[in-house]
């Protein structure tokens, strides 16, 4: 494609054509900016849903009931054992192919959010589990003796300490999530990376990729700073 564009160089008509065809940098930024908002939308919604969902999943993973435990274990292994991009395709096209459901309208976005949340919940669940299982039994015993119920013991005594312990692992996942939002291009959802690819193709330009890289890097830089602040906030005890 790049060659076909470079070919008519020199003729006045071609030059005019190129100028019309060439998107200005500001228009490109504008379009990519709209995509960034969508990427951030995916990011925040996924976190909002997968962080609590992961806690529920981790309870299932540690359940006394063997059936629940096995089912949840299987779910986690599928989520971790298959590509997220493939999972997104299944969430989007599955309802149509499996149940002949109409998948128009807003469903593309919904499929992306479901796909990301359900996938990330599996990873978060294992992180929660590692944290919960690392808590010494003495903390539970002390809480029991002091009259804390099961829920109060977990939310007041155990969870705050677990959060502190798992924060570095969670930061890892959150940073990966920022970059993973780009997988939405598989469903042609107009988030930033999809747009960057489109502009790059239509403009035969490398610039959109560079802008995308800067965007992801800055986004993650901010994420890292925020997580560091949270870690600092929790460093008042050991």
């Amino acid at each position: 494609m790049a060659e076909s564009r470079a070919e008519p160089k020199g003729t006045g008509a071609a030059l005019l054509h190129r100028m019309e065809d060439n998107m200005s940098f500001s228009v490109m930024l504008q379009q990519m900016g709209a995509g960034m908002l969508k990427s951030m939308n995916i990011f925040f919604l996924t976190l909002l849903l997968s962080l609590p969902l992961g806690l529920v999943v981790s309870f299932g993973r540690m359940a006394k009931n063997r059936v629940i435990r096995t089912l949840v274990k299987f779910y986690i292994s599928v989520m971790r054992g298959t590509p997220l991009m493939l999972q997104l395709l299944v969430w989007y096209f599955g309802p149509y192919y499996l149940f002949s459901m109409n998948i128009g309208g807003n469903y593309r976005f919904i499929a992306i959010i479901i796909g990301f949340s359900v996938n990330y919940a599996a990873y978060f669940a294992e992180i929660y589990r590692s944290g919960i299982e690392s808590m010494p039994a003495g903390q539970y015993e002390a809480a029991k003796l002091l009259g804390y119920g099961k829920a109060a013991t977990f939310f007041r005594i155990i969870l705050p300490q677990v959060i502190k312990r798992i924060l570095p692992a969670v930061t890892n996942e959150v940073i990966t999530l920022v970059k993973d939002t780009s997988l939405s291009f598989a469903l042609a959802y107009a988030e930033m990376f999809t747009i960057a690819k489109q502009i790059a193709a239509s403009q035969t330009s490398f610039v959109p990729f560079f802008v995308a890289a800067v965007f992801y890097y800055v986004f993650n830089f901010i994420v890292a700073i925020v997580m560091e602040m949270v870690e600092k906030k929790l460093s008042y005890y050991r």
């Binding site: 003495g138 903390q139 015993e141 002390a142 029991k144 003796l145 009259g147 007041r156 005594i157």
Partner: protein
């Protein structure tokens, strides 16, 4: 009426019987020490009494109210509001303190009375400050557990247990994780509690302390009560195993 009554308690771990048919009683304000070699079942007996362990046979009651019992081989324990009521009778001081690291000293002491006993915060605060004063820790209110020495941490743990106003306080080797100097300060505090007239059951390896503070002493060996009586009776007894245990201790 007996404050605590344990009748014919049995407890096994993986087929190994660590408590074989033990019965004991603790009256209001009484101080009972449980001594004996490691692995004799002292700590397990205490953990059964506070219902951290289930029992395989027998019955445990507080103030005549059944707390845990075994019927036809099935373990039962009181539930719901009854359970809260029964549990409010006792507190436990652990060997390794088990303070909540994310709570300050004051929060460690105040949280349970405020959240679980629903007592007014102001009242609990005054009481907590008084307890800390008694423990010699008035300057540590806002410290976090990691900033405390072992002896200080154990004294906070004692204050935390006392803040719930138990009628009986169990100590599970309260000084075993401490060096001799810190042991001294914790024992001094426990001694001072005798004036509060709460009953105490103390599992300990501090023989002089046990002899001096106790109303009654139980010497356990291999899961049974080998010897029981007043401190003098137990320490002066011509009991082979007891003499052997004390003899070894001297070296």
């Amino acid at each position: 009426m007996n404050l605590l009554e344990m009748k014919h308690i049995r407890k096994s771990f993986d087929g190994l019987e660590v408590i074989r048919d033990i019965s004991l009683e603790v009256k209001k304000g009484e101080i009972l020490s449980v001594i004996g070699p490691s692995g004799s079942g002292k700590s397990t007996l205490l953990r059964c009494a506070v219902m951290l362990e289930t029992i395989d046979a027998g019955e445990i009651s507080y103030l005549g109210e059944r707390a845990a019992w075994v019927q036809d081989g099935v373990y039962h324990t009181v539930k719901g509001e009854k359970a809260r009521q029964v549990r409010s009778n006792f507190g436990l001081v652990f060997q390794n303190f088990n303070l909540f690291p994310h709570f300050s000293v004051l929060q460690n002491i105040m949280d349970a009375p405020v959240k679980n006993q629903k007592r007014p915060k102001g009242e609990v605060y005054e009481e907590a400050k008084e307890l800390l004063r008694k423990m010699g820790l008035s300057d540590k209110e806002d410290a976090y557990p990691y900033q405390l020495s072992g002896g200080q941490a154990q004294r906070v743990a004692i204050a935390r247990a006392l803040a719930l106003n138990p009628k009986i306080l169990f100590f599970d080797e309260p000084t075993s994780a401490l060096d001799p100097e810190l042991t001294g300060e914790v024992l001094r505090v426990i001694r001072s509690l005798a004036d509060l007239h709460i009953a105490m059951v103390i599992v300990t390896h501090e023989m002089n302390f046990a002899r001096e503070i106790s109303d009654e002493i139980i010497f356990m060996d291999k899961g049974v009560v080998a010897l029981q009586g007043t401190p003098d009776e137990v320490f002066e007894a011509e009991h082979g195993r007891m003499r052997e245990f004390l003899g070894k201790l001297k070296h």
